[in-house]
């Protein structure tokens, strides 16, 4: 084992979606800066969009939608708990990013006049832009990385951030998961873009790596930001998605909806008005599964053969292209068969719900010099395009920040402590297998954190997590690859514990299924119209506290506020959850 050191102006951690854009834009703004991009896989193909993307879920394109409309829609969809300034920062830069990507060769659907072919999937406005040839997104971005001269370090898993004595960011420590070396990167500014905490819950299949998110996104960034002293936000607002059962990938409403596909129950009846992914929609979906009206299906078998072929030409080619062979294996065909759907395991994801590292409209976290972008940051419902826009914001702001600071010093202790934590599993002669500890941890996440969130269950969950924390000292790894998996288990455990604590703290129900607490079944705006935040206290234990929702740029009318509460088509006899108290 060797310890290598590298010095850079700007360090970007995570080469998926937000990270490459942050690195490219930082380098473009200040070509004399050194910009280093680390990825635990290979930046050419890493991250959530390894096989591209089938649509932009939140395009704000002049003539189709305005930034103000979009900010209102997301405010309502996220039950009011948003920092509108961040949503607005995205919305006003959305179209520029589409045009930038278009110029890089990323293909978006256009109509016969050459205009972007925007579709309506959201409850209120039209923001969905299909990408029938969206499989080449990563390729187009990687070309820009090479062209502009960003330095890429692959197979490097960042494990901890370096913090200066004055608490500003000083760099990061990374494990070379092939050579088994440790890399110390000193930097003036760091952009964290490591994606969602996608390996938190265990998929219903029981297969550890059959997650909705790319399983390489294990929540590393949440854990690193937390241990560096950054504030995490909305960890009680879980990500839960409606997915193809067992396959555990999207079907996907954004693709099939505009072509006439929709979700039905076992009786063949529609039960939700809008297939846009929101907590309220997921609650109705879950109720249908639990009510005896399930299973729930995606219905496409009423569509013309040519329409189904167009859908297949998107779904079976981009984003999760193995969907086609999954259906084939079960002898299922969209033309004649309904596609059985289920709900995903829980995760943390700013891009889909709102659980992430707190950032302001400049992508700044609460730690000076540390930025967050993409699924990792808490900008609600930000998706792929929002990740790119916040990557751009972060990269450019980081350049300005780095201009004004010298390279921070850091305590050698941090490196020594990390060397011990990361490499200890290699020195043990006997011990637990990382995959076994991970399985037990994530099974307990399902048992105790999966909504409905029952107070007593979450308390028991915390006891189990504490026991598993002591088990971390007994994991044995056979090689550097298993060291990476072990360090991921550490991160997953941090995410599980913090998600449980944030969920217990918010004593109301909100965001439909994402935070449905039967012990507190009503939404309570009087006491809980607030963010719930987590940070590491001086005693090393998590501190949970409120952060006020900043004043709205665009106030929401009373009449609009509950638009997402009424997604069920037929009146339901069930108690309405997340409604106003």
């Amino acid at each position: 084992m060797q310890i290598r050191e590298l010095i850079t102006d700007i360090l970007v951690i995570g080469g998926g979606t937000a990270g490459p854009i942050a690195a490219i834009m930082a380098k473009a703004k200040m070509p004399t800066n050194r910009v280093v991009l680390l990825d635990k896989a290979n930046a050419r193909r890493s991250g959530a969009i390894t096989e591209g993307m089938d649509s932009v879920n939140n395009a704000v394109i002049p003539g189709h939608a305005t930034p103000e409309q979009y900010v209102r829609e997301i405010t309502i969809a996220n039950d009011g708990i948003v920092n509108q300034r961040t949503i607005h920062a995205y919305a006003t830069r959305s179209f520029d990013m589409i045009q930038k990507l278009d110029s890089w060769g990323v293909k978006f659907e256009k109509d016969e006049t050459g205009d972007f072919a925007v579709k309506k999937v959201h409850h209120m406005g039209a923001y969905v832009l299909p990408m029938p040839e969206g499989y080449n997104v990563k390729k187009a971005i990687y070309k820009q990385i090479r062209r502009i001269g960003v330095e890429v370090g692959n197979r490097l898993t960042a494990t901890r951030l370096l913090v200066a004595p004055d608490r500003r960011i000083a760099g990061a420590i990374a494990l070379d998961s092939r050579a088994g070396d440790l890399l110390v990167v000193r930097a003036k500014a760091v952009v964290l873009s490591t994606g969602a905490a996608g390996r938190l819950g265990l998929p219903a299949s029981g297969y550890l790596f059959g997650t909705y998110e790319n399983p390489t996104n294990a929540g590393d960034g949440y854990s690193m930001a937390y241990h560096a002293g950054a504030e995490l936000s909305g960890l009680e607002c879980f990500q839960i998605n409606p997915l193809i059962k067992d396959y555990n990938g999207p079907a996907c409403a954004y693709v099939t909806g505009p072509y006439g596909g929709y979700t039905v129950n076992a009786k063949g009846e529609r039960f939700i008005k809008s297939d846009y992914w929101s907590g309220q929609m997921m609650l109705e979906f879950w109720r249908e599964l639990e009510s005896g009206n399930g299973p729930v299906f995606l219905k496409l078998n009423h569509l013309a053969d040519s329409t189904v072929r167009r859908i297949e030409n998107i779904l079976h080619i981009t984003e999760r292209p193995s969907r086609g062979r999954f259906h084939e294996g079960r002898h299922a065909n969209y033309r004649s068969d309904l596609v059985e759907m289920h709900i995903s395991e829980i995760g943390l994801c700013g891009g889909h719900s709102a659980s992430g590292v707190w950032v302001d409209e400049h992508a700044r976290t609460t730690v000076p010099g540390l930025y967050a972008a993409g699924d990792l940051c808490n900008v609600a419902h930000n998706y792929m395009l929002g990740a790119m826009v916040f990557g751009k914001i972060a990269g450019e702001d980081a350049v300005d920040y780095a201009e004004g600071v010298s390279l921070p010093a850091y305590h050698e202790d941090q490196v020594e402590f990390e060397r011990e934590r990361v490499f200890a599993p290699l020195t043990r002669e006997r011990g637990l297998r990382p995959a076994d500890v991970e399985y037990k941890l994530r099974r307990n996440v399902n048992d105790y954190l999966q909504p409905p969130k029952v107070t007593r269950k979450m308390e028991i969950g915390l006891e189990r997590f504490a026991e598993i924390r002591s088990d971390l000292q007994s994991i044995k790894a056979a090689n550097p690859h298993e060291l990476m998996r072990t360090i991921e288990v550490h991160a997953i455990l941090d995410c599980a514990e913090l998600a449980a604590r944030a969920s217990l703290y918010r004593t109301e129900s909100r965001w439909g299924l994402y935070h449905y607490r039967p012990d507190f079944p009503e939404r309570n705006d009087r006491d809980w119209f607030t963010f719930v935040e987590v940070r590491k206290g001086d005693d090393g234990k998590p501190e949970i506290f409120r952060r006020a929702v900043p004043p709205y740029l665009f106030p929401i009318d009373e009449a609009e506020r509950s638009a997402y509460d009424n997604l069920r088509i037929a009146p339901s006899t069930a108690v309405r959850i997340g409604a106003n108290a």
């Binding site: 896989a41 050419r44 890493s46 790596f209 790319n214 062979r325 990476m484």
Partner: protein, 74 residues
């Protein structure tokens, strides 16, 4: 190096050009589960951690890789 007994990333060694230095599938894998065995000169799936995402298959210049849906999910 031990390949998996029941890999779901299937390599056609007649088509594979790893012997000429190609590592496209290894580089493409986000989970780093494919490796080159120096002893027998063959590409192998070495970890049971496949997300069935397909970059390995799509980036292979000779069409030597076929990814099956992992058994628990199939």
């Amino acid at each position: 190096m031990n390949g998996l007994d029941q890999p779901n990333v299937i390599v056609d060694h007649d088509k594979c050009i790893a012997g000429k230095g190609c590592r496209a599938c290894i580089d493409a894998c986000p989970l780093d589960i494919i490796a080159f065995d120096e002893e027998d000169g063959k590409i192998k799936q070495v970890h049971d951690e496949c997300w069935y995402c397909l970059p390995c298959e799509n980036d292979c210049p000779t069409g030597a890789i076929r990814v099956e849906i992992p058994y628990p999910v199939r």
